[in-house]
Amino acid sequence: MARMTGAQMVLEGLQREGVEVIFGYPGGVVLPLYDTLPQYPGIRHILVRHEQGAAHMADGYARASGRMGVCLGTSGPGATNLVTGICTAWMDSVPVFALTGNVSRTLLGKDGFQEADITGITHSITKHNYLVMRPEEIPLTIREAAHICRTGRPGPVLVDIPKDVFQESAEFDWPEQVHLRGYRPTYEGHAGMIRRAAELIDQARRPIIIAGHGVIWSDAQDELVALAEKAEIPVITTFLGIGAFPEAHRLSYGWLGMHGMFYANMAADNADLVIGVGMRFDDRAMGRFKDFNPGVKIIHIDIDPAEIGKNFPTAVPIVGSAKNVLPRLTEHVREAKHTEWLQWIDQVREEHPSLHIRESRRMLPQYVVRTLYEETEGNATIVTGVGQHQMWAGQHYFYKRPRQLISSGGLGTMGFELPGAIGAQVALPDAEVWAICGDGGFQMTMQELAVVVDENLPLKIAIFNNGYLGMVRQWQQLFYDRNFVSVAMTQPDFCKIADAYGIRSLRVETKAEVAPAIREARAHKGPILIDFMIDQEENVWPMVPAGAALSETIEAPAEELAR
């Protein structure tokens, strides 16, 4: 054991937890920590321009790499600025470790300058949080927080440390073991339940697997493929589950939900057995709960017992990780063929292809995504914001591997795209990472362009610029009688903004320029921003209207297809 300051203990602890990068922003109470950073050259600090960016970067880093992402903010506004990013990670179960400073212990609770009760504020959006009152508590706290963050169902944690605790010294006593009486995630899955699930699968005539984000987090893509192939079960994914099953696989039928593929929605709605794996049957995926596929039986495999039975009654609950449960399930199920069922879905897909891009002289956003897919040969990592562009990016790029699409699903956080992509690029320095941005969301966090420059990241930034908050405009058109209120946006010249940061830029105004611009961006070694002036009034189809059931999925109306 060695005597260390609190600040040293924090960095020593994080280093022992394998942390190599911290996305942070300094301020008064974290100065002791920043003062200590140079003593830990193994930890790279990336200076963000707003703490929200730090949290999203840690999130993007985690989603791209599967590792824990770390963000750091000072007390008060520094901490509260992290909140949107922490909640984004919370809703999507991403292991983000948030570290905040707080005012000195004598001032805690006295409304000291820049004091915020950040542990109180983040209770309901973290798996757990800690307020550390003594330096000797730091090693155990860091160890426990990191353990909670990345085990079980992953999720954000927050550790709040008063300034004088960073400065005080104590013995560094690193616990080898974590011992938490109230936290023991179940990984294995109940043998009896697995056998019952196998029986149901054997009996099913129209089974379908719905794979979610949990498959990606437990690294169970191969195990999922094995099950699907042995029992010949078609697989659809949730939006966050995209990449959990290779989309080129013959048993892949896209993803379901509000803007999922028509045939995926119909398959889910006509199955006699749904096997939900690492997903939570949320409203955007399932449509109106009470009218989802009456009579269907559900097998629900999830590591979080609280997800089972939350929205739908479950015939067979299996609490465990996909990685452990799927192979055992595969062992128990019989080899089977579901030829008729697959033919049924194939026919729906033939009649309602959903992903067909119509011939048009306009620069359709779908065409831009598809061209990007073709130019990158489906290999790029795609990070999106939230809205129409997000849905098109999910639909018209075809994903082959887990962690290839990174997007804010549960919270739907506009502004995630740029910092999320920065985090992903930091995690994967040699990968081709594209940030697909909305023109609205980009402006929420575009100050992080400075980080792209500082860190010399080869990030490709594509703005889908239609001059509207497109998804809101679509809803106003469809559900508010075309009463367009506060959705048209005067956009700045995004190319000039890129220029101001010293980032190369291109503007694309016609369809013919799309592929050459993408090629130019790919050939360019450094970062580049492309402002795609896409068709302004294109809508996302298919769509399950707000409040409707999956069976009520509607496709693009004829007048829109004629545009």
Partner: protein, 205 residues
């Protein structure tokens, strides 16, 4: 004691569940639990918390309105809190459930005896007495307490304080946890998050 003797109709409690949670005795635990119930829309009828037989562990007894949420969801959500170690739904168990109430009742020389008779029927204790006021302390299940309250109402209730329900399973079965922590870890857990006693240097830089 059968409160129906007093003509009192107990409140309908068909769907109330008694849930016992063994939790770490740490700052913020009560807030975490209360915040969880609020956020998930579970209605709390009563919540009591105090030390358990194990140092470092508290025992919470929560009466949940089962109409607001399936009690199974309540249990599972509680389990997600790291500081919650064990949750038991006592609804299907044979339990002893008790509550304590103090009732400050208006009275005078004329009707005091009457009131003491009532208290006697309910086996309530007189814990304070003044010229125009009396405090009755009563222990029992909610129905009994409701019954006494009803009987006191005509005299005028000045103040009422109820503890909420605590409960325990009859017989040898327990709902508690006996899992000590390693000493090194326990030492840190005992102070984690607690204020430091004594003077700390003022610092606002």
């Amino acid at each position: 004691m059968n409160p129906s003797l007093n003509g009192h109709q107990p409140r309908k409690r068909a769907n109330h569940h008694t849930v016992v949670a063994i939790v770490e005795d740490k700052p913020g635990v009560l807030m975490r639990v209360a915040s969880l119930f609020r956020r998930r829309g579970f209605n709390i009828e009563s919540l009591t918390v105090g030390h358990s037989e194990m140092p470092g562990l508290s025992r919470m007894t929560i009466v949940v309105d089962g109409d607001s949420a399936p009690v199974e969801q309540v249990e599972k959500q509680l389990y997600k809190l790291i500081d919650v170690i064990k949750v038991s739904d006592l609804s299907q168990e044979d339990i002893v459930a008790r509550e304590l109430a103090m009732i400050k009742v208006r009275c005078n020389n004329v009707n005091r005896h009457e009131l003491l008779d009532i208290a006697n029927v309910f086996r309530a204790d007189v814990v304070d007495i003044a010229t125009n006021s009396i405090i009755l302390q009563v222990v029992g299940d909610e129905d009994k307490i409701d019954g006494l309250i009803k009987m006191c109402e005509p005299y005028g209730i000045r103040e009422l304080s109820r503890t909420g329900r605590i409960a325990m399973v009859r017989g040898t079965k327990t709902t508690t946890v006996h899992e000590p922590e390693p000493e090194r870890i326990a030492r840190i857990h005992q102070t984690q998050g607690r204020r430091v006693e004594g003077d700390l240097p003022f610092s606002s830089d």
